[in-house]
Each structure stands twice: as structure tokens, then as C-alpha cells.
Symmetry: D2
Subunit: 383 residues, 4 copies
């Protein structure tokens, strides 16, 4: 019944990320006023029965078993890449060359070389009006976006210190099997790439500063795990935890830690940022809140205020519910889709770009090089 | 592409509640495994252009301007009543008599008499296999449902004390206009009926005990407000705040408070329940958490534990994301829809029934009678 | 070595309150600049060996076995009454008549009649420059004193709502014996008098409003308990919990609850006070903190700020440690002693006066009368 | 009136630490059952009028202007060193050689060489029954001592990760003057030595593991500050912040950060320790609480429990008030004094020893060497 032009989306992969993105695409038109009618046109998977069932469940009107088919279809304008990092480069580059806008899950790629190729392809595509974005969804947490606004407004003053952690605990059990995520060949790295990438991107986003050098440690606490097929045990070849100190180009110093062994912490992405005039603190387990300290308050009433980020004048929140009615983790993806589609509509450059994704990759590479050297200081390569 | 039978839903009203319910219906099939394919068949509103636009935005495939049309349509199996309380009785009773399952927003009705008629109609319909439910959605907060499980398992022991508040602050500004919600003729009551009803239902649900008598106060702090049309001021004829002590049939004593004047509290529905063996505490602003104290813990490590209610073995959570990935307020409705549809499918009796809605109404009536008497003790009428 | 005049203190009773007051007297000179040299002159108890040992342990330089001896001693200027409420009247009145300043533990007395006599004696003594104060020590929590300042400065606007609880759990075990505190003859009342008195006094202090009427419930959950001598069981004759709604003379409405059955809550005196321009919230278990919400903050950064009440410009704190170095519960007594001694020194009237203590008593009496009537509305008698 | 033998204490220095220690000595006999009667015999300072006044205020019965006098006095059994680190070695060694027990404030010394001499002197003295202890008072926070117990009992399993910060903000103002604490010659180092030493000692104490190597950064954000005499500006020669990653000898990895530039954080010493079976988290601003997570809890009720460390079966707490009545920061010193005096009485070896103090010094030295190398990996020297 809508008179808006359709924007056809084709999504590749329908595991955890695919399910999450589907909820975003399904919700976008209802929540936000965008100039398109989102058409959940096609979902791609290798096994026909499975992908057909997924299409029905998740609300996609067709399915394909070969992602190359999306590039041929005129009703597909945007390709949403939700596969593991290993095939991002091939898929995203082909889609961009076919003139499809590309939203690509993080990490951008498993290697810096692939990421560089993707960034180059994205730049070439942009010249033709074809848009691309890497899916660091936590930039779209309203509290994080609001923290960035506060930094940009100068309310925190000069940013001097960052402490960021991403704490999970899902593999503390030694009987947990040797999934592909715990094998370097397939996953690239462990906690560092999977969740460390988020805190690097997010803190750079909020502060506007970029990591220039690091000293870091990685550790694998449980070195052998049962094979999934029950035939014995195999080596864990990725890190369980990664921790590093860093310097940023705006003068800040930072500690970072990503771990899957923080017993009791389920999804605790936290950052605290201290500026000369104020501080912010955030925890993803309470993503509708931001703690803020301002030295502008008069002395006796200074304190960290818990701001419920649910007001219409907070980023993205005008789309949602009345104050105090919290939103869920899934809407980081709805906001991400909103921002990407809006950029497509108005011809602006969406962020984070593939080049931004590459830069995060180079930070992680520096951490790994430092760790391999025994935690010596290591400079981040420039993109 | 689905082979499940369709369950056609017709929704009446598309304001705040209608938007929320739409998100639930849109999400239900993707999140939960139900034996129907939900068909968002029709939305009803009085103004054709507006309801047409709402249908497009919210994802309904047709619209009607007269709710009676839903009763005639064979593709409508379930009527979702999202209008103000004044016309619930007429609408719900007609729908039930037409053989449509009815999900009815709270309060069940503006008067106990109407609520009684609705409960009778629901009982008659149930005899024919037609289901009905009143939409106290906070029963479907996973943390609340989990608290109920703990009570039922006896882990808290004998329940002795309840303290429950629902705190909001959206009308503290005296320039806030005289909306229909602030006028008795239309709204029935103020904070008491709107949000006090939730805490009465929710604490009764969790504890399994029912309020038998009350002593209460209501207060209207700002007695006159600007008319919406700018022609002057009018009288506020409902309560801004209601507070009462109560006794419950299982021996518990309780304090309750509902207010729209708790400056700084946006949507803070809180309860704490103390039993002989443990306690639980909850706050809707952090709805993914439950605080639990157990005397079974060994002495030195007893403490209120903050449980992140995001595990697959928590109520409703198997449908969602990995641990620590929080869900939003909106999914109280998704869970509500799931429970109702499941009851329809397996022929069980959904709860809370219209009779349950009536019982809550009678508690609120007792509070108003007590307040009108100057806060004398007042017994709750039996249904 | 000091050249300040000595102020000789005689303390009656050395149980829990006596130990606490001793720590205050021992600390006063070191922490605060007062015009006296505090002389811990004498402690009074009935059993010679025990009181002698207590004197040695707690730092008193002499002991007496009859409190009347204090009234005869010239080196005693101030009598600190730390006995149970039953003999406060006799002791305090005699001391005042003997020209000794009197600090009297709460409750002022076990009956309103006795409290009235004490208030009259205090007024007569004041005319002769003899000072008296009732020891509602929680007024001396810096966070509470600061909250009062904020109210007086108008920063919270018109105070409209109060919710106050004092939650403990030390008698939830049915095997806990029938102490004197659980017997009406000796204790006067149960949770209501013991801890309910604190929240009545404290909220009246902070808001500057006084309770005028109440409707309340009391409950005794465990009606029989083992006798202390092991000879059987006896009746519990006081309340385990008391809860009531109230109106205050400044237009506020309130809920109050005092209980010894809030499983898991050890010493949780909490209040939240909502005004037209802001709110404060406090919990004695975190007594160095005050939560404050101000509508004067610009919209998007409004939130409850957690203020660490440890700055030199907070009440009493200049005497203590650097910011962030918290103080303990015991220093409510140090501050109380400081305020009383300061009033003695400068000839001002210390607060809370015995008349204030009487007024609290009358509120509690009204609650008991209401509870005995089955929770009907009951007006507080005027002093 | 006591029949216990006197233990004469002579304290050198009466600034912040001296005030704090005085409160401990003044309180010790009243709170704890020890086999001595503490005699606050003498306080030492250079300026006669000032030290005389301090003695009167803080409760010392005599004063000296030369610390060597303490060594000659027979009524002095214990010397409490509360001066800056620069003269600890001379003072402590002389006292030990004179047969006086020595409690020495941290840091043990400003250089590792001095610390080595002190450790040697302490060992020699111990052979003669003369005791010594370095005053890392945070080991005596009950919550920290309880955390250590949990580790020792194996309740947390194998300790794998530590994150520790000590956050303050008292010099963020660029107009804050160039105190001696900001000058390397006098203070040795900045945040690292002053507060970083605490988190190194405390986490080693709790986990039983020792730091073996580090990579770290130090930063001075404000490089010039006003001179105290108003004659211009001078160079800040110590660190404002220090952050490092570390490995410990039991296999744990860690991040540490000490800063005086964490705007809004007043005295936030925090640690979180993750083991294979549980985790603990602590914040000095809420020192009466410990958060504990145990995987032994049954699945759905696992969560971080906030334990109020105020029960009689928690370390040190039997000496204090009823449950929920919190104690203040100052009693870390009371507990420290208690432990030291108890060790003197029963002839056991108090901890932390001077050798322990030396080991912490060597960790800090490694951090400085790493920072000076540009954050390369640096091994901690063995004592």
C-alpha cells in the first residue's frame, strides 16, 4: 500500500547475525520514516531446505542457494553480508562491482590484505554512487552515539583516558567443544577479532581519536578441547583473551581487554572515557543507560548521573517508545540499517566505511604482532 | 512459503498500544515456533487516510474504518483491542459472540459493571472454544515470570511482604495540557488505573496471593491545566498519585504506589517481595535483570544477586539472543502474543482471563472508595 | 595538654548504643574543632565488674553503678542516656533538673505521657541554659543533612511525595528467641518504634513537613518464639512490620514501612523524596552517597546523579578524609555529639528537641491506633 | 584501669597518614580484644608548637621534635612511620636496630636499593623477635580479606584474569599547584607509586600470585604547574597516570591502571578477578561490599551477588556493629594495627613484610623501565 520506492535487500547468511539483521529489516519501516519501502527480497544459503525454512521464518520473500544470483537480480539493491569473515572480500567486492550497495558484517576480513582490497573496491564504487558500510553495530547504541555527541560538543573537554573491556564467559567450561570460532584457519583470531574489534572501533568512534601503537598480551587458557565430532581433542589456535595498552593520536592513553573467560560476565562491553571536563561510562548489559560526570555542575552536586537514554532528544529514540521504555540489543541493527539506507537515499557517505574497517584490522594486527613479540611496543600501520 | 495454517489478526486502534502490538505480531513468527502463520490481516481506525497510512507503516495488509467489519471477515480469527477502556466492553463482547478470539488491552473496562459483563461473555465464549485474555503485558517480562517460578518452587518460602511502585513523571510540568487521560469521564481514573493496575496484577501474579482489603490515598497535585485547544484551563479530574497499604489472602502485607509525579523516574515499575527463605527485587527500567536473595546460600556469601535474565533456561529467552544480549520493553507484547496464540492452538485457557481483569478492577475500586472515605479500611469486593 | 575547658560526659548504659556513643566521644576532639576538651568522665552500669571492664575497654576514666551519682558530680556536665526507653523519663528529667545537659537515645520514651513530661522538663531547663537533645542520629548522616540543604535551597521545588522504608531481617528465623525487644512491656513497640521512628523523624527533618494523619497496618508474622531460658515458648507482643500511608502538613503524601522481615535487607533505611523540580534518594547501606535528580539540568543529560558525599563542602565532611574516602555508620554519633556540644557552647537550641521526639512518638501512636482500628484513617495528636 | 601490659606507640609524622593512624590507635582497644593496653605515648614532628597541638588534638600524651628520641625511650615499643618515603629507610632501620617494632607506611622506600636495605634490616630484627610490617592498609579492607579467603578455599577455581584500577581526579585542574607529590625528587613517582602500589599489592595478596613481567605506559597530561609560592610555573616530573599489562607467576594475565586524571572518580580502587569457577569485584568507594559470582550456583540463578561485608563471620567484622551498619575507610588502619599488634603478641610474622614491600617496589620499577623504553616488555627483578 506504500507509494515509496522499494529497496530490495538480499542477505547472505542466516545464522546469529542473519537472524539479527532480519529483525532489523523487518522493523525498519515501522520504526523510522525512510524514503524507501524495504523489500526483504532474498536470503541466501547453501542448503535449499534450510534456507527455504529460514526465509519463511525470518520473513524473506525468496531464497537463493548461490549468492552470485543476487548480483543478477534487478530487484536487489543492497547486499547484506552476514557470513564469516573469510569470504567477505570476494562477496563484497563482487557485489560492489555489480552496483549493489553493501553492508558487511565485521570483521571486514580475516586479513589486512583482503581488507585493503575491499576498501579500494568501496572507494571505486563510491565514485559511482554505490555505498558500503562495515557493520560495527555498537556505534548505533543510542548511549554510545550520545556519548560521541557530548565529546563533539566539547562537554567532556580534552579526552585523556580510555578504559575499554569486552567481557564474555561462554567458553570457560573445558568441555566446550572446538568450534570453528576457536580455530585460527577459519576465525582469523579469537576474542581479539571477535569482540576486541568492537571496543577498538567504538572507543575511536566516541572519542574521535585513533590508536597509533600498542603493547599487548594474548592468552589461551584452555589449549585443547574436545572435537565436535567426538573423535578426540584438538588444539585451540586462537586467543581466549587479549589485553593491551595503547596510545591514540589525540593524546589519549588507553587500556583494552577482550576476553571469553571473564566468569559471570555475559556480554559486558564497557568503556569509560575521561576528559578534562567530564567523563562517560557505559555497559552494554545496560545499554539504555549512560553515566555522565560533568565538572560544570556546581561542586557539591557533582556526581555520575545515570541517564536513561530513552528520551526523544536522544539519538534514534524518537522512533521508539515513551521515556523509560527500554529498547533491546537487536535495535543496534535497526539503527544501522536506518543509517545505511538514509545515506543511500541522500547520497552521503555512510560510516564506518570499509577503510574504517581496515583501520580497525590494522590495530588488531598490531596487537597480535606485539603479543607475538612478547608484548613489545608495536606501531599500528597506516591504511 | 509457510505450510502452517494462517491465523488472521485484526487490530483495533493504532496509537501507542497499537504500535507496540504491531511490533509483536510482526516479530512473532520469526522469534517463536508457533503452529500458525500470523497474518496481519487488518487494522481498524476511524479516519481512512490515517488508518491507511498506519497499515502501510506498521505492516498490516488491509484496513477497516469500522471494527464491526472485522467480525464479518472470515480471514480474521483474532481481534486485538487496543482502544481506550471506554469501549472495550462493547467491542470485546461483540467479537467473542462472533467467535473471534479476543486479546483486550488493560484496563479491562472503565467500570466494574462493564468488566463483569465482559467476564461473563468470556466464560460463555470459552465454552465454545473461543479464547480471551486481558493484556497485562508485564506478566510477560521474563524476569517477572522467573520470579513467579521461584515462588512456585518454594525457593522464597512463605511470602510475607510486598512493596510495589510504578513511578513516572511525565506530567510534573504544570503547563502540560489537560489530555483525555487526565479527565475522569474518558480515562476512568488517573495513575491508579493506568499504572497502578499493572502493579496490582503483577504482584498478584508473582506471589499467587490476592489483595483482600486496602487503605489508600489519592492526590491530584496540579488541579487545573491548560486546555489542549488553548482556550483556557480546565479541571483535572483524576488522581496524579495513588498510594495504599493492603492485605493479601495468603497472609502477606503490602504497600503500593502509582504516581505520575515521581520526578526523574520515567517508567520505574518496581517490586520487592520478601519471603521466609528469600527475596526478589525488580525494576522495569532494567527489565533484563532480577535481584534474588536466598537464605539457602551459605552465610558469608549471602547477598542479592543480580541475575541477567538472558539465558536460554529463563522464561521466553530461548527465542532470543545469546546470554547478555538484552531484549526491549516491546517484547512483553511479543511474549503475550505468543502465550495467547499458544493457548488458542492447544485449547488451554489463557491467563490473565477477563475474570482476572475484573478482579484487578475491583481492587482499584476499593482503593478509590477508601480514598474517598478519607483512607479508611475497605474490603475488596469478590468477583 | 589542651587549654580548652573540659566538658565532662557521663554515659548511662554501655550496650550497642553505649559502645557507639563511646566511639563518638573518643573521636570528637580529634575530628572536630570544638571549644571543649571532651572528658569521658564516667560510665554507669549496674554490675560493678562489668561496668569496670566496659570503662576500661571503651575509654571512660571512672564508672558508677548508680546513675544518680552522676548528678552529684561536678565533673559531669553532660549526661548521655543510652538505656532502653522505659527509664528515659526518670533519668533525663532528673539530670535536667540537676543542671546537666542531656543527650537522650530514641525513642524519647515508651509512652506519649512520659514524652510529654520530658518535653516540659526540657523546656524548663532550656530557660536556665541547660540543653537537651534526642538522639535521632540519622539526621547526622551527611547525605541526609545535604538533602535537607537542597530542600531548603528550593532546589527540589515543592515537595510532593515521600517513600521511606527501614528494612531489616534479623528475626526471620522462627528459632530466634523471645528477646525483650519482642515484648511490648519492655520495648513499647516492635519495628515501628525501633526503626519506624527513624524514618518518620528523618523524612520530616529533610522535607520540613510533618505527618498529620495516617492509615496503617502492623503485622506479627511469627507469633510465638522460644523463651531465652529454654523453658518453652512465649508470645511475641510487638509488631514485626508496620506500614502506613500518610499526609504531611506541607501537602506531601507518603508511604512508610518498617520491618524486621525483609529477608536480605540488613539495615536498609531508604527514602526517596520527589519535588516539583527534583528528587533525592538515599540508602543507609550506602550512606556516603546521595542520588539527586534536577530538572534544571538540560534535558538530554538529566539523570539521577550518584553524589559521593565525601567532599569538604558537604555537611560534616571537612572534618574527615579526602574525597572518596568513606566514613562509617558510627560517625552519625560523632556528628551528633559535635552538634550537641556546639549548641551547648554557643547557647543555641539543639535539634531534635525533646518536643521533636514527642512529636515523632505521637505519629507512631497514631499508626498503632490506626492499625488497631483495622487501618482506618487516624489523625496525629498535636504536641 | 586495665591490667593488660602497656604497648607504647611512637608515631612519626602527623599529616594525612598520621591523622588516620591516630584514629586507629585510639580505637584499637575499644574495638578489638588484644593482650595490650595501647599507650599513645608520643608523636614526633619538627615544629614544636605544631606537634604539641597535634598531640593534643589527636590524643598523644607526649611529643618529640626528633624521632631519634623515640629510640631512647623505654616506654616506646613500637614506631609507626608516617612520613614521606624518602626517609623511611633511615628511620625504620634505626628503629629496628634499637629493638622497636616498626610499622612503616607505603611505599616502603623511594628506591629499590633503600627498600633492599630495609628488608635486610627487618630480617635481622625478626631473628631477635622485633617485628616489622609495611602499611598496605587495603589488605585490611574486610571485603578484600574475604576475597582472599574465597580464593584460598578454591571457590573461584584457578585465577586467570585480573583487572585493577585506582582512579582519582584531584589534579585535573591545571591551576592545581606543583606540590612535592608532583616532583620526582621528593615523591619518587606519581600515581604509579602513590596508588598503583596499592593495586599491585592488593591483587597479589588476594590472588596469591605475583607479577613477573609488564609492558606499560606512563603519561603526564599537564606538564607545567604553578609553583606553590606563586613565583611562576615549574615542571611536573612524575606521572599523572600509569597503565600496564602484566603476567603473574600463577598463570594469570592482568591490566593495571593508576591515575589522578579520571575525572569524577574520587578514590575508586577497583579490582575484578576471574577464576575458572567464579569471580569477585570490588570498589573502594563501596568498601563494605563485595560482588561475587559462583558457577556452583544452579544455572538460572547465577549472578553477581552484592554481599554486604558486615556480618560477624566476615573478616574483622565481629569487632564492629550489627549487620548492615557500615564501617569507614579509617578502619583499614585499625585492622592493620590489630594485625600488627596481634603478631607482636603471639610472636608470629606479620604481613606484608618489608620484603613484600620491596617486591611491590620492583614491580613498579619494572613498569617505569618499560615506560621509559617506550612500553616494551620488562621482567620484574627478583628480590
Amino acid at each position: 500500500m506504500s507509494e515509496k520506492p522499494k529497496l530490495g535487500v538480499g542477505m547472505v547468511g542466516y545464522a546469529f547475525m542473519g537472524r539479527s539483521h532480519s529483525q532489523a529489516w523487518r522493523t525498519l519501516n515501522a520504526a523510522f520514516d525512510i524514503p524507501y519501502d524495504i523489500d526483504m527480497a532474498a536470503i541466501v544459503g547453501r542448503t535449499p531446505e534450510k534456507v527455504q525454512a529460514a526465509a519463511a521464518t525470518l520473513g524473506w520473500r525468496s531464497y537463493e542457494t548461490d549468492w552470485r544470483r543476487l548480483l543478477e537480480r534487478d530487484d536487489i539493491h543492497l547486499v547484506d553480508v552476514c557470513t564469516p569473515g573469510g569470504n567477505h572480500a570476494e562477496l563484497a567486492i563482487a557485489a560492489l562491482e555489480a552496483g549493489k550497495h553493501v553492508l558487511c558484517e565485521k570483521p571486514l576480513a580475516n586479513t589486512a590484505d583482503e581488507a585493503r582490497e575491499m576498501a579500494a573496491a568501496a572507494e571505486a564504487a563510491a565514485a559511482k554512487g554505490v555505498r558500503s558500510m562495515v557493520a560495527f553495530n555498537y556505534r548505533r547504541v543510542p548511549a554510545a552515539a550520545f556519548a560521541k555527541q557530548l565529546v563533539e560538543q566539547g562537554r567532556l573537554g580534552q579526552i585523556r583516558q580510555i578504559r575499554a573491556v569486552y567481557l564474555q564467559d561462554w567458553i570457560t567450561d573445558p568441555e566446550f567443544p572446538l568450534l570453528w570460532r576457536l580455530q585460527k584457519d577459519e576465525a582469523g583470531s579469537g576474542a581479539l577479532g571477535d569482540i576486541g574489534s568492537h571496543i577498538v572501533d567504538l572507543t575511536q568512534f566516541v572519542t574521535g581519536q585513533r590508536v597509533t601503537g600498542v603493547s599487548g598480551i594474548t592468552e589461551t587458557f584452555i589449549k585443547q578441547r574436545p572435537l565436535e565430532d567426538g573423535t578426540g581433542v584438538g588444539e585451540v589456535t586462537v586467543d581466549d583473551a587479549a589485553l593491551f595498552v595503547a596510545r591514540l593520536d589525540g593524546g589519549a592513553v588507553a587500556t583494552y581487554e577482550a576476553t571469553r573467560f571473564a566468569t559471570g560476565r555475559k556480554n559486558s562491553l564497557r568503556f569509560e572515557i575521561n576528559g578534562s571536563k567530564g567523563s562517560v561510562a557505559f555497559d552494554l548489559e545496560r545499554l539504555n543507560e549512560l553515566e555522565l560526570y560533568l565538572t560544570d555542575d556546581d561542586g557539591p552536586v557533582q556526581g555520575f548521573r545515570r541517564i536513561l537514554i530513552t528520551e526523544a532528544d536522544h539519538p534514534y529514540l524518537a522512533a521508539w517508545w515513551p521515556p523509560g521504555h527500554i529498547i533491546g540489543w537487536e535495535h543496534t541493527f535497526t539503527h544501522e540499517a536506518y543509517d545505511f539506507v538514509t545515506a543511500i537515499a541522500d547520497g552521503s557517505t555512510p560510516a564506518p566505511s570499509f577503510a574504517d574497517g581496515l583501520q580497525v584490522q590494522l590495530v588488531l594486527d598490531a596487537v597480535l604482532r606485539s603479543a607475538n613479540s612478547g608484548a613489545d611496543w608495536t606501531t599500528v600501520e597506516t591504511t
